[in-house]
Symmetry: C2
Subunit: 216 residues, 2 copies
């Protein structure tokens, strides 16, 4: 299993470090801010106060021993870039970094790291989908324009057969199954009727899913 | 279709407003900061400079006419809370608000709005899952402890039959199908063999998915 260094203990960095720790990983939290470091010292394997723009200080703290580093510095773009460059100099094999703007994203992407994340923008896109489609409980993009979506059965379709949805016929959308309570069901019997709170788990290309969702 | 007021044009608010606009919705962007408002004026239906802690100013700008309001003020917690209270006073039927901390979340939740979001924390949890499971391309929680995950086929299983995964037999995990390029396939023929870059779309409870992922 891999060890993780999370640099920058803002809301995002703290959430990642805490969750990774909860999965049983060895995690070190790093920040300039003494208060943030001490807040995390009980939760993580270790937590150190350190200016990560200082390569020597990073080496002295053995950060080069870690398998994976996440740079979660958003506001101070120069600190984010310098820190990322330092981690590359340390030879850390997997580096992910958060960007706070498109320009920040472009610079970090040119540093040849494994992943650049735009958390606010990605959540913003996600939330806009949920606001645009009130029946959409959740969704995940599979790449290639496909998504899996979780839509709650509209009231007017309760008690009806699955075929009234017109899937396959009117919409190039696949019903993967139905979540009913804690059971995942395949509506493969003719007497299967939709019930209140049934969640339709659908797969399709996004324009087709939108078309289906609008018709609901 | 519904009209949207996005208050607070930081990275998150801007992303939501931009995407909602792109879907063809009527969107007004609101911020104290003149520069941020002017940056969005071409993208949105309208953009106004306004201190949203001022209820009279909100009414004067006809914000009460909007169906949905999103409060995307993170740093100034008092402004976020006051703004949310004002929007309730205006009678807006759907209000979502971003919180920047657990305490902020608890206060907003007590105001009786439709949804409180913690974007950095939710992205942090998502990213921690991707870091913890390098083969995990993406996933979505369906509620009830179930998730749909997208896992890239490990190299050592290329050319093998789907049954070597041991799904149903060793793991209470369902294979919903396989994404191959831009096609979604069901491996229902005996000669179906896994190919490089095939994405396994799996459904199961999270501990079972983790167990399966660890074994991969
Ligand atoms: N040179 C540095 N060395 C170490 N830590 C730093 C350095 N510069 C900034 N930080 C830390 O990075 C953390 C996150 O920074 P920032 O305030 O940019 O967060 P953010 O990205 O806006 O926050 P969030 O994660 O809440 O979205 C802060 O706790 C800050 O102290
Ligand atoms: N009283 C107010 N009225 C209108 N806009 C406000 C008010 N107070 C703050 N804002 C605006 O809210 C916006 C977002 O604020 P903030 O800096 O808190 O962002 P954030 O939540 O940290 O950012 P991000 O969305 O990037 O995560 C800012 O553009 C700010 O001008």
């Amino acid at each position: 299993s891999r060890s993780f260094a999370v640099i920058g203990l803002g809301a995002f960095g703290t959430a990642v470090a805490t969750e990774l720790s909860r999965f049983g990983n060895h995690v070190i939290g790093v920040d300039l801010d003494e208060r943030r470091v001490s807040q995390m010292s009980a939760t993580l394997s270790s937590a150190v106060i350190l200016d990560t723009t200082d390569e020597a200080a990073l080496r002295e703290a053995d950060i080069d021993q870690y398998d994976v580093a996440l740079v979660a510095i958003g506001r101070d773009i120069e600190a984010s870039i310098l820190t990322t460059m330092n981690l590359k100099m340390l030879g850390i094999s997997t580096i992910w970094a958060k960007a706070s703007s498109r320009t920040h994203h472009r610079i970090l992407s040119k540093l040849g790291i494994q992943r650049v994340i735009l958390p606010e923008q990605e959540m913003g896109r996600h939330i806009s989908q949920m606001l645009n489609n009130p029946m959409l409980q959740d969704y995940v993009s599979l790449g290639n324009g496909f998504s899996v979506v979780n839509i709650i059965t509209p009231d007017r379709l309760i008690g009806r057969e699955v075929k009234v949805l017109g899937l396959g016929r009117n919409y190039d959308v696949t019903l993967l199954g139905i979540m009913r309570g804690s059971a995942f069901k395949q509506p493969d019997t003719p007497d299967f009727l939709l019930e209140k709170e049934d969640k339709l788990i659908l797969l399709g290309k996004r324009p087709e899913l939108r078309r289906f969702g609008d018709a609901l």
